[in-house]
């Protein structure tokens, strides 16, 4: 479903070249919960941005459902992000002027859903993350954990093929982090493909598979025993 071949990302700083992602190749089967770990600067977030079409790699291929998406136009990439991908950012990245419900329904409106249908679907998504009772609240009226759950609701509301999460628990306390991880595991149990970047080993091991990175290279790629999720290749 998601595959990368010889993916490379080089940043230039003056005459210096920094290889953030070094010729990586791997595949993520449908329904897999993959975590990418590594120290700060290891290239894990850069890898996620390439996979999630938020950035363009220097070379290599990113293949989604058999199509290399690297060469697509900005407009086509935006369309793919809207329809097939979901994003969860470290600092929630929900819009401050929109309520929880409005934040969640935004991708649906862009897809062309009318307001009523978008609201109905958004409410279901909020219900899944346990926030239906806060649908009218602005982000400023929600706790960090609640905001992250709104972010998850927004990421899943349009039934994306893959969810990308960039350190979703980094700003949360342990209790709230566990609630968020619980939501991810439940989603994965229902067959949702998830790629999550984290530096927290405990949470990384909750997934099917963990890739450890250092200096843009894959140091290890392991299947986790006793993972809580489920996918078709189990």
């Amino acid at each position: 479903m998601l595959e990368i071949k010889n993916l490379k990302k080089i940043f230039k700083s003056g005459d210096e070249e920094i290889i953030a992602v070094n010729n990586l190749s791997f595949a993520v089967p449908e329904g897999q919960f993959l975590t990418v770990t590594g120290r700060s600067g290891s290239g894990k977030s850069t890898l996620l941005y390439q996979l999630g079409l938020l950035d363009v790699p220097t070379s290599g291929e990113v293949i989604i459902d058999g199509v290399d998406v690297v060469g697509l136009s900005e407009k086509e990439r935006t369309g793919l992000r809207l329809n097939d991908l979901g994003y969860i950012f470290q600092d929630y990245a929900i819009l401050p002027s929109l309520s929880a419900l409005e934040n969640t329904m935004l991708p649906l409106l862009m897809q062309g859903f009318d307001t009523k249908k978008a609201q109905a679907k958004a409410r279901k998504a909020l219900e899944r993350v346990g926030l239906l009772d806060r649908e009218g609240n602005l982000p400023s009226e929600l706790s960090g954990g609640q905001q992250q759950r709104v972010s998850i609701a927004r990421a899943i509301v349009h039934d994306p093929k893959i969810i990308f999460a960039d350190e979703p628990t980094a700003n949360l306390d342990s209790e709230t982090s566990e609630q968020v991880m619980k939501v991810f595991l439940e989603l994965n149990k229902e067959g949702q493909t998830i790629v999550m970047v984290t530096h927290e080993t405990d949470y990384a091991q909750m997934a099917h598979r963990t890739i450890a990175m250092a200096d843009g290279n894959i140091m290890s790629d392991t299947l986790n025993k006793g993972h809580h999720g489920n996918h078709k290749n189990d």
């Binding site: 941005y49 938020l54 950035d55 989604i64 459902d65 058999g66 199509v67 407009k75 086509e76 935006t78 369309g79 793919l80 992000r81 809207l82 329809n83 097939d84 991908l85 979901g86 994003y87 950012f89 990245a93 819009l95 401050p96 002027s97 929109l98 409005e102 935004l106 991708p107 409106l109 862009m110 897809q111 062309g112 602005l138 927004r154 990421a155």
Partner: protein, 426 residues
């Protein structure tokens, strides 16, 4: 993927509706004072667009309105340029009364006269008498009063009566007291009082008159004239017939002056005199000044538009820059760039619309009625505010378009930036 590729083309209506959705929420949750300030600036800009040029044009419009109301009416019949009077005036007057939509008319006799005040005093050789040249206007006091209500312009003294064969009214522009100009060749009468005798000379005919009143109307027809009974003017000018200088005609409201003019011409009046609608009879300098003031007003309005554009540009630019990360997030989750762009254009549109709305209320409910009731007292006219609904809507449209463009440019600059860089704030 194939299905997805088909789905990625967001329609115009989706971009428009998402843009509107975002704009509404942004404005709703914006700081109330910031919004109030922006709308206030837009209101002032709109007022500047309408009121400045409206008052400039209104100065002349006030003068034209006064000319029309008190001097020339809706239609004016005057002698041919190579004649001294309207031929067959009684016949023409009879035709005038048959115009469909006729309301009233006045017949005026005219000539040029010299007025002297110190003619009884002995003066030294080489010394000039205190005199002034002016227009001599002969009226029927009752008819003229009914037509123009001229008595309300009496500044001092009193209005003429039908029996006042030895009295005149004198326009203030002929008097030094009201026109204290001491330019070479320009003369005015000094030390004039009500009841004082003056000598009026037309050609070789002279007669003494008492000054019964001083006229101040801001209409040249009266302010630069010596007004006497028609019979006196005929005597002074040596006219033995009833042929007059002008016939001013008022029409009932709703009557088309062009139709009335055609009626008169078709009735044969054109054989005896010139027939003009008010707009054709206004002095050319008034029309020229009006055009000049209009241009001046447009220049000032143009500057106002530039200021409004810069204001909106800054507001939207600051707004977009401070929300650059959120723009990146919107793009990141698949919101089309156009939808984001539209949201900023909508915001500019809403700010401008609110400004225009409040501006319209102020103009049509407050400023225009105020100026109508309290015209600005200029030396040559009572200035009013000229602001019509169609012109106001046209200028509102110009302001809206300018504002939306001013909102579009900064939003586009910010939205064009790299999505990831915007999200990461770098």
């Amino acid at each position: 993927m194939t299905d997805n590729k088909l789905k990625i083309e967001n329609s115009f209506s989706q971009n428009v509706s998402v843009g509107w959705f975002l704009a509404k929420r942004d404005i709703k949750h914006a700081n109330i004072w910031t919004t109030t300030l922006i709308v206030f600036v837009m209101t002032l800009t709109f007022l500047n667009l309408i009121v400045v040029s409206g008052i400039l044009v209104g100065l002349i419009q006030g003068s034209e309105d006064a000319q029309k109301k008190y001097a020339i009416g809706d239609i004016v019949i005057s002698s041919f340029l190579n004649r001294t009077a309207i031929e067959q005036t009684p016949k023409v007057e009879a035709i005038v009364k048959t115009i469909p939509g006729y309301k009233d008319h006045t017949v005026r006799y005219s000539g040029s006269a010299r007025v002297e005040s110190n003619y009884r005093e002995t003066i030294n050789p080489g010394e000039k008498r205190d005199g002034v040249g002016g227009m001599l206007l002969g009226i029927d006091p009752i008819q003229e009063e009914k037509f123009s209500g001229v008595s309300k312009f009496i500044l001092r003294g009193s209005y003429l009566e039908s029996t006042d064969q030895d009295s005149i009214l004198i326009g203030k522009n002929l008097l030094y007291e009201f026109t204290p100009i001491e330019a070479p060749g320009f003369q005015t009468l000094k030390n004039i009082t009500i009841g004082q005798r003056v000598k009026i000379t037309v050609g070789k005919t002279s007669k003494e008159y008492f000054i019964k009143g001083i006229l101040s109307s801001k209409v040249d027809e009266f302010d630069t004239s010596v007004v006497a009974l028609s019979s006196e003017v005929r005597k002074l000018t040596g006219r033995t017939d009833l042929d007059a200088g002008t016939i001013a005609i008022q029409l009932l409201p709703g009557t088309d002056p062009a139709f009335a003019k055609d009626f008169l011409l078709q009735s044969g009046v054109g054989e005896y005199a010139r027939v003009q609608m008010a707009a054709e009879a206004f002095p050319k300098f008034l029309t020229d000044v009006k055009v000049t003031f209009g241009i001046l007003g447009n220049v000032i309005s143009g500057i106002g538009l530039v200021v409004a554009s810069i204001t909106i540009f800054i507001v939207i630019f600051v707004n977009a820059i401070t929300r650059r990360r959120y723009i990146g997030i919107l793009k990141g989750i698949g919101i089309n760039k156009k939808a984001i762009l539209y949201s900023y254009m909508y915001q500019a549109f809403i700010y401008a619309s609110l400004g225009i709305f409040f501006g319209m209320l102020l103009i049509f409910l407050l400023i225009k009625p105020y100026f109508a009731a309290n015209p600005i007292d200029f030396p040559f006219s009572d200035g009013i505010l000229v602001a019509t609904i169609p012109t106001s809507f046209l200028r509102a449209g110009i302001l809206l378009v300018t504002t939306v463009i001013a909102g579009y440019i900064p939003a586009r600059i910010v939205i064009k930036q790299n999505t990831l860089s915007a999200i990461l704030g770098r």
